[in-house]
Symmetry: C2
Subunit: 238 residues, 2 copies
Amino acid sequence: MPAPPWRKSRRPAQVKRQQLSQELIVETGLRILDAEGFDALSMRRVAQELDTGPASLYAHVSGKEELLELIYDRVLSEVRLPEPDPARWKEQLREYALEVHRVFRDHADVARAALANIPTGESSLLAGEFTYGLLIEAGMPPVEASLAMDRLTLYLVGDAYEGSLHWARMRAAGMSGPEEYFQAFVAQIIAYYEGLPRERFPHLSKHVKDLTAGDGEDRFTYGLELLLDGIEARMPKA
Amino acid sequence: MPAPPWRKSRRPAQVKRQQLSQELIVETGLRILDAEGFDALSMRRVAQELDTGPASLYAHVSGKEELLELIYDRVLSEVRLPEPDPARWKEQLREYALEVHRVFRDHADVARAALANIPTGESSLLAGEFTYGLLIEAGMPPVEASLAMDRLTLYLVGDAYEGSLHWARMRAAGMSGPEEYFQAFVAQIIAYYEGLPRERFPHLSKHVKDLTAGDGEDRFTYGLELLLDGIEARMPKA
DNA sequence: TTTAGTGACGAACGGCGTTCGTGTCAAGTA
DNA sequence: TACTTGACACGAACGCCGTTCGTCACTAAA
């Protein structure tokens, strides 16, 4: 006996629906984050991408905050850690920092979810163990090694965060590539700084060109070397 | 002749209404920021505080983003700058950093509005001129001085940002003072880290106590000295 | 075959930033 | 003095957001 035509079947194509899962949600969130940026990442957007309503996500994730943490740790899992070699602690710390920097650049906006999270995810912990172990085995006192690790991490995340805000602005301005944005941005700054009154801002207005020198990479490296040198100066002599 | 009773007077007490102005809006926003935190600061909340509707603000401020920038610069104006003395550049830079740190602590959440803003406000520019001039006059090449200033600023704001996120958590947990939060927080971390498998995280689990040593102030100072020492090592000899 | 439990999800709540159109009033002009 | 003009104030609405509630379809145990 056929169903009466006015009774619409409730779930037209249920069979093909893939199961929701935390992993699927995290992966989808990361995809949105990479493609459309932090501001576009909402629970509703993730649900839409999965052809469902926002309420469905809450069975697998306690809320947006947890989702962000999960995405962050998922990204950190892309960081490749070498076998620790305390004799080369400085080189290895530098390589580690550059590796994290690279991963953060590939997932620009993930840093917005990162600051002030005590690492509890698997990948964060592994990264922490690597850094901390390296400093300890190189001879640094435990308390100081904690501070050094903490500051280095703050630097990595802080720099990435700043970069991601620039990225967001670029997107908001409707630009396609970093070059275009960078160019327009620098031009703006130069124009503004050159218009400053010389007597009140003698140094800034004199060195406008130098102020805008160096891209993000240069700046990151410079700050990194500052920190590493500072740490080295405090490392007990072998 | 009395007005018909059904026609309610449109503006009951118009006389006493104070004029809106950009300064008033900024000051109100800052008050909310300090008292209730970043997440409580909304256009509607500011308008409410001024006994008006949110639309009224847009005559004086282009939007929330501009409001945040204005508040940020307003806060920076509390930073007191000494007369530059290049011979004492390191001390002065340290004092400057501590002064900024102090101001950011008084207005915890303002750092959330600060990252990635090329300084265009009056106070930001004055701070920049101070820092930059100090490095230049101390003998640092202009390009390198730009990098050093940039990284130092990033550190100041990044640290404050992290602190403000902690503050927000504290508020969300309904705690009253930093001590209570700090205590609960540290206890949580210790418990978690002690539960880690020893074989995978030998260093982390061995030095749990040391990992949580040092309060925010200690950490800030340590990172600051790292940077300053790094800069000093690059400063051409006098 | 009944029951208990779980995941999916439509609908709604309260909040957000911002825009539109209208209303009011003061200053300038004829 | 009468009229025009323009700036400001603001109620209402639009389209978002995160989250919660109650209900429904379905599965697995009893």
